[in-house]
Every structure is written in C-alpha cells, then in structure tokens.
C-alpha cells in the first residue's frame, strides 16, 4: 500500500508513519522538518520517501504535488498536519491566525482537490482528514483553531459524495487530546499528560478506522462520549471547556 502523510515528522503523523512502516507499507512522509524523519529507525520493513513541504506556502504544496506526477497512485492519504494558537482571541496577532488558516484549512483543501480526480489516487482509496474533538465540544481559548477544524470537518462532509464518484472514500477523524509536544505546548498549565492518549495508540485506532467503512470516527471512548455530550448539550459542553481550558490559560501561545 502506498500512503501519503502530511505533518509526518512529529506527533500523530510520526506515529502513523512508524506504524505504517512497521506494517511494511510504502510511505511518503511530508513535513517542513525533514531532519527528524531521516533519523527514523531502520528496523521497519516498509520504505519511506521523505518530502519537504511548507504547508503555509501554496507554491511549496504545488511542488509537492508535482513530485507525485507519474508515480504510483496513493491508496491512503492522511491530511494530518495542523497547528494551533491558544490564548484569548484578541491577544493573538492576526498573522498567527492567517498561518493557522493556511495550514489547517487551505492546505488540506488544496491537497485534497488536487489529489482526487487526477489519477493520483488509486481506485477505492481513502482520504483521511484529521479534524478535532473541538468540533463537538467547542474550544474557547483556541477559537480560530476550532474554527479551522470545524471548517475541515464540513469540507470533508461536502466532498464525500463527489469524491465517491471518483472512487475515493472520505474519513474524518476527531481525535481528543493526544500526548504530543504540540498538546503540551498548548494545554493549560497543570493539565495531566497521562490523561491524553498516546500517539501510538491513536495511530493504530485511526489506521483501523481507515480500513473500515465509516465516514467519521471519534477515536477512543473518551472522544466518543465527549462527542455525544457535545451534541446533546452543546452549550454546557462549551461552557465546561471554558472552565477547564480558557480560564486556566496563562498567556497566548502561537
């Protein structure tokens, strides 16, 4: 199986890459920081191609797409790369929000629209958008991050039918907190890392869901019940998120 992963150098992307390599697949790992990918343990059976991409720049994405021309099509694509900006809405500069929209929304939309229907995706392939549990819960303290993840989830819902016509199925994943450097940077002080899911476990769950038939997936029981709660009592869920996160934030991190 040939797989593309964006944001493959760290966090969930890294875990996905390593798990797929362990299973013996062919992985194209795209990220802005390619150094840490080159030090990947060689014990894996699969083969890894490292590609540089700066998802803030449309030109860089275009170059990445050009490098796929004439190559074997992908069976799975994980549009995983994402960044965040936490703090009070008005304390974060507009430039940080522009970056957030570019990486979390523009890049996956652009990549998906250029991969599907262009012979870059194999028949019956899968495209996976990584949204966030904030889609169900709201996220005061990272309102624009939540906005981009909501936008991505909506985009995935919209393209489900048109992509299906092109023999590509869509999966949207809504992961809760994962124990990564990214989460540690953005979580309020004093939050427990042990409450977050290990990226390796998350990667396994997501890969299993990508093999299945579902269109959306909330990995783990916590995310599942969180989503249920958020859908049934959206106002209360967002208010609790405010208590748990927004009120505890020290200062803006972007």
């Amino acid at each position: 199986m040939r797989v593309l992963i964006t944001g493959a150098a760290s966090g969930l992307g890294r875990a996905l890459t390593e798990e797929l390599l362990r299973q013996g697949h062919q992985v194209v790992a795209a990220d802005r920081e390619t150094d840490s990918l080159e030090n990947m343990p060689m014990a894996h059976r699969g083969s890894c191609t490292i590609r540089f991409v700066d998802l803030e720049s449309a030109d860089s994405i275009q170059r990445l797409l050009a490098s796929f021309q004439g190559q074997q099509p992908f069976d799975q694509v994980f549009l995983n790369a994402g960044i965040s900006a936490t703090g009070k809405f008005e304390e974060i500069p507009a430039a940080a929000y522009e970056k957030l929209i570019a990486v979390n929304l523009f890049a996956p939309i652009y990549l998906a629209s250029r991969l599907v229907g262009k012979e870059l995706m194999a028949r019956n392939s899968r495209i996976v958008f990584i949204s966030s549990l904030s889609h169900a819960m709201g996220y005061p303290g990272a309102s624009v991050y939540a906005a981009t993840k909501d936008g991505l989830a909506a985009y995935a819902r919209c393209v489900d039918k048109p992509f299906r016509k092109e023999r590509v199925r869509v999966l949207t994943v809504f992961p809760g907190p994962i124990n990564t450097a990214h989460a540690k940077r953005h979580a309020p002080e004093g939050s427990k890392a042990s409450k977050r899911m290990a990226p390796q476990k998350m990667a396994k769950l997501i890969l299993r869901a990508a093999k299945g038939k579902s269109k959306t997936y909330y990995p783990g029981s916590k995310a599942y019940f969180g989503a249920l709660f958020g859908k049934m009592m959206p106002g209360l869920a967002t208010r609790l998120m405010r208590r748990g996160i927004y009120d505890k934030l020290k200062g803006p991190v972007y």
Partner: protein
C-alpha cells in the same frame, strides 16, 4: 440591543452592496442608526445608492483582509465612533462546481473573504465592541448541516465561522454578545455570482426581504445561533446543483 432604539446605535454591515447586506444596512438606517456599510464595489454617491443620509459607504475589499480591516477601522475613527453596538459580518463569496475542479485562487479567495477577513475585522473591532457591550453577528449558512457537494469550500468557511462564534461567544461572555445566524437558501444574486444557474428552483427560495427581517428579529433576541429556513426551499435547493445548471 437591550434598550431597543434607545439611542442612535453604531452599526457596521459588511457586504452591503447587494443581497441581504444591503437590506440590513437600509433597515438599520431607517431606524435612524448610524450605519457604516462596506463592500468590494466602488460607489460614487452613497446617498443616491442607499437612499439614506445616515449610511456611510466605504470600499473595503475583503480579499485583502488586512487592508479591509484597517480601512474600516480608520473610517470609524474619522467619524468619531468610540463604540460599536452592532457588527454584522455578512460579506461572503462562493464558487460552485465539483471540489476536484476548484481553481486554487477561488479556494484562497473564499477563505480570505469569508473567514480570514472577518477574523481580522473582529480583532480590529474588539475594543469598540467591548466598550459598547455590543453585538457581533456573523452570517452563516444552513448548508453547513448536511454539506453541499458543489459548494465545499464555501460551506467549510461558513462552518468555520460557526465554530468561531461558538467558542468566541463563550470567551466574550459578559463583554459582548457573539452570535451567528444561518439563513437558508435565499433569492439573492449570490448563486449567480458563484456561477450557478438555479433556473426554476430559485422560485422556491426565500425572499431576501423576509430573511433580512428575520435576521433583525434574531439579532434583537440575541440567542446563540438561529436558522432561518423554509422547509420546502431547503428541499428544493437539493435540485439546484443538477450540473447542467452551471453557467
């Protein structure tokens, strides 16, 4: 606005040269509020176009978010506005067609006009909105509920606004009221501008006048989110993308 029409309020309406925005700008002007209307187009004579002396128009192209926000802020300072009671972020653009054919500039344009620009604007207006304990109103779309295969990026931007309003409402509790209103399919020129010929289906869409009126009621009530729909119109909208309808 708790004390209804107690004093002339300051009102901002973006995307006010056409459709719902234009009707809203006129409606608030009619109630003798001070209205600042913005849009992409250049208009030679404000008063002649809007038919109200208390509407000021400024050209602010939202496809350049930074410039649009600073232009609007500058004109507000020129007019001596210290508070902003009501900001209606209505301006939006759309493109219609299969998602895998969407040109890169229209993806970028929709994100800029519909999402980045409102964010820039909210950042610029925050102090004035907080000073007035004002109301920030975003205009969404009911299409975010089920999605729409031919409007994918547009729906994504509207869903993003929905998410933004949900979290920001909680953040700004006690400082200003944030809300989003989702109009259903409305008989405005947006669909034609987006490149979609609706043909007879257009007849079943809601009249912009009624939608604008419903939006005003929703703004007065100030609840978190409000959908404005007619069931049959939404049902008929499903047939609007018949494909051949492309201009």
């Amino acid at each position: 606005m708790a004390e209804k029409d107690a004093r002339p309020h300051t009102v901002l309406v973006t995307g006010a040269t056409d459709g719902i925005g234009l009707l809203l700008a006129r409606a608030y002007a009619k109630r003798s509020h001070h209205v600042l209307a913005t849009g992409r187009r250049g208009i030679a004579n404000d008063e002649e176009f809007f038919k109200f002396p208390n509407i000021t128009y400024v050209t602010a192209d939202q496809s350049d978010p930074r410039h649009a926000a600073s232009t609007i802020l500058a004109i507000m300072q020129d007019m001596g506005w210290e508070k902003l009671d009501l900001a209606i972020l209505n301006g939006a653009t759309a493109w219609t067609g299969p998602p895998y054919d969407e040109p890169i500039n229209t993806i970028g344009d929709q994100l800029k006009v519909n999402l980045t620009s409102p964010i820039h604007l909210i950042l610029a207006l925050t102090p004035m909105l907080h000073a007035a304990q004002g109301r920030l109103v975003m205009i969404g779309s009911t299409s975010i509920n089920k999605g729409h295969g031919q409007f994918a990026t547009y729906v994504a931007t509207k869903a993003a606004l929905n998410g933004l309003s949900r979290s920001l409402r909680e953040e700004w509790r006690g400082k200003a009221n944030v809300m989003i209103i989702h109009p259903g399919p409305t008989r405005t020129r947006m669909h034609a501008k987006a490149g979609l010929n609706l043909r007879f289906v257009r007849l079943f869409f809601m009249s912009p006048k009624k939608v604008a009126r419903a939006i005003q009621v929703a703004i007065r009530r100030g609840n978190e989110g409000r959908k404005i729909i007619t069931r049959f119109g939404c049902f008929m909208a499903r047939f609007s993308w018949a494909g051949k309808g492309q201009l």
